[in-house]
Amino acid sequence: MRRRFAIATICAAWMCWSALWKPAATVNAQLSEVEQEGYASPLEVLLSPDGARLYVLCQDTAQVRVLEAATGQVLQTIPVGRQPRGFSFSPDGRRLFVANSWDDTVTVIDTQSGQVKATWAAGFEPSSVAEDRAEKTLFVADRIGNNVTVLDAATGAEKLTLEAGRGASYLAMAADGSRLYVTHVYPNPTPHRTPPKSEITVIDPGRAQVVDRLLLPNIAGVFHVAISRDGKLGVAAELHPKNLVPLAHVEHGWAFVDTLTVFGADVGRSVEVPLDELDRYYAYSFGVAIAPDKSRIYVTHGGSDCVTVIDTKKMLAYIREHPEPFAEDLSASANYVVGRIAVGKNPRGAALSRDGAKFYVANRLDDTISVIDTRANRVTQTIKLAGPEKVSALRRGEQTFYKAYSFQGQFGCSNCHIDSTFDGLQWDLEPDGFGRDIVDNRLIEDLRGTEPFKWNGGNPTLVKECGIRTEMYFWRSQNYDDRTLTDLVLYIRSLPSRPNRWRAANGVLTPAQERGRAVFYRTIDKLGQPIPQSNQCGYCHSGPKGTSQKSFDVGTGKPTDNSGLLDTPQLMSLALTAPYLHDGSAKSLEEIWTVYNPHDRHGRTNDLTKDELNDLVEYLRTR
């Protein structure tokens, strides 16, 4: 691992190396590296039913802070679980439920006392939570579980799980409680090199059943969804990638467009409407809210540090009067966007006051809440949350990661690495040739010791990966200065692996996992023949991260690849990152061997039975 940077003469690179080199840290130690910074990182906001209190979900300090809405004064600070991602009130406002994404729990808070009353187990990576009107059932969207866990609202006992989209994350309950809408941040599986698809899963809360799936063609990454008070209009914020077209340039929406899907009786169908302009983009649409009278729709843009204001009537008229599709028309938004309001860094969750007069925006990366006067369409107050005054290098790096740095601000790192992970997409990058070297996007957690980068191993360091290469072939626009690049690399290298849900806390493997481990490290095949060392799984996928950091040709190259020589990918969190292989052609781990390893060049696997391959999969999921 102690490898010198190839361009060690660059001062910035050396600074990075000096700052980052340390012995391998545990997951918890790495996580604490972020948490110890002490930044509140407000991710979501809620107003109490009477509008007097503002509840702020602080991601990095793992707290709910209760503020006096009028003044911003802190009334209470309530500790919750690790990396809380979503929260909501019970219909009567007496309880606040918090989804703790890294603890796989839901914290139940009594809003009168501010006391934590219970902590309930939920599914894998709970990301938001909603209670039904009868207050009998609690629904939890689980990002890694790809489902909605249904809990008994009195005891927390799990009743059942409902299948949702991949990366199920956000929930919105209709005001009358008749429907619950679920969005997901990773695209559902589709055939190789076809457009991504997503859905809005519609649940009948009373029956706890999925009753509909609104299909969102071309969408990969859906965030908040909001429903009007009369239940007739729904809006979801989303990403519309252009991953199938060679990324030869960026202008004219060539990498991403930012859109909303609007649906419900007011629209009559699901319609995708764009938010960008010809020369300016509004990246990473995240939070949405609909005014009580439906006159306005508000959208936060995490990559552009602003809020878009839409005139709903104009938007619906545009939809009625123009032929679809709209998403490719960058001039469409001029017909219904009536405001762009600058707010703080990385605006995420947002909430409207009950009368619709104020719009509160959680600016995650500068620890502020922007209060927008919706009549004047301007920020009238900025509430600063307590935390470090100094912006650390790590924090600056995270700000850079979430800022849309590309040409005309079209996209940033976080567009392809959703919440600092991956996007489940395969991209056709320009320098390798159009239609050549299709590459699957990789997870960027716990990267220490996984160098080099890129599937062809062409970038020995993150400095190169995120610097010159990114400037030329992704941003197509001026990149950062050396300090900013150093900060960015520091941040990326600080990203820990999330807890592995397939590995027992004590590290003991299940019998199936043990059998799979034996297959992984075997040296003799089932016919009694020795397996050449270079064809044993553990040879290329060696070391703690499951990579020898070397390139091999294992026969998985395609005719459109310029070389069969590929960097050995790390194996951590493998269970999350389907599809597989360098070009994403294997839909599942099984397909790596059953479809794409006919000649045993990618390890000796053709002597294995289906059960034995299943065991191997079970083991790999523990990595």
């Binding site: 030869a248 960058l330 400037e471 001026q478």
Partner: protein
Amino acid sequence: MSRRAAATIAAGGILLAAVVYGLPQQAMPAGRTVQKQSETVAVIYTATPAYESLAALHGDERFPRGAQLMVQREGRSQVFTPGFVASADASVSFDGRTVLFSGKKSVGDPWQIWEVAAEGGEARLVLAGSRDLIRPLWMPDGRLVYAWKEAGGFALETVGLDGSAPLQLTYLPGNFVPDDVLRDGRVLFESGFPLGAGATPEMFLVYADGSGVESVRCDHGVGREHGRQLRLDSAAAGAGDIVFTHGNRLARFTSARAEEAPVAAPAGEYAGDVAEMPDGRWLLALRRPGQKHYELAAWKPDMAGMELIAQDVERDLIEPVVVAPRAVPNRHPSALHNWQTGNLLALDARQSRSGALHLVPAAVRAETKDDAGQVVSLGMAPVEKDGSFFVQATGDRPLRFILLDAAGNTLREEHGWFWVRRGEQRICVGCHTGPERAPENRVPEVLLRTTTPVDLTGRAGPVVAGGH
């Protein structure tokens, strides 16, 4: 608006300084030059007895009776470039300290590029040639872009301040004159429309390495010229818009719309090259009704009247620039490959702003112009069922496409020309779909069939015809 006037007579009686707020033309005091006295920001402008605003687009002289850069500081105007028999085209550096300009030291000199401190002083020759070099503009990487006159007209080039690493940006016969460097790093220039074939003034964009040439908008009007981008960091409404003259009117391109929008400015003929003052007002060169010469006035869209900034009863005052720091545009990181050719991919050739073709073309023919200006066919390539095609063309040469049916009849053809840079890989949605059209997210069929472009460089002889 209050009306107030104050005047001072400069030494020698040549200059008259005044403050005139909303003063109508007929009330102008007599004298040679009038300017606002209280304005603290320095303004440099070109004064000329006769301004031929379109002359450069025909390869002609814009200032047939000479021109002189003037500077107005603290209410006084004076010659900015003493020692020059002619000077024009001031461009202030991003830090506000240095000015590039076109100048002639002696009668009979061609226009040359000079550099001088913003507060004045000895000018330094940056570039000289046997023909005119005009309209220098600062680039974000410290280089400059300008127009140089060659046999075929004015071409665009970037070059270091020491004359190093010249890089040609335009590769068509015709005249190309830079207007501004946009915040996104692209060079805004004007030329005739259709590009390389027409004479109607129009504005275009090109990256700093000559790649990606395209129209700013495709609602082509009857003559658009002299555009400048309002500062993106400005608090003024319309920050980032490109304001230009359309005919003699002011108009703008906004980020949100595919068509130009009118600017409801007071009546008059506008000369373009709008500068933005620190207070957000626009500094305009206009010729009010009945007036002989362009004067400089400050105005912004929500102002009822104009404030006269400078006037000269004998000369046009044009090309104003404000001497102040401004945001540096983004630098363009060139990703051109080290090739002699460029690759072009069309996603769906049927698509066009003027209506989609109902027939799927069978083939596309590429044409270039030889050195004598004759149109030469480079061959044909098949068009797939989804309208996609993928070709390789010689870089840095005129290029256009003609869509053909199976019998070889023309279905649609480009009226103008463009170029692909050597080493450039470029994709378009369709033939002339306009900048408002984003691509559909799908793999074009041609790339599912082959990732090798059809060679239309003209070096391989007749090429494949007939598609799908």
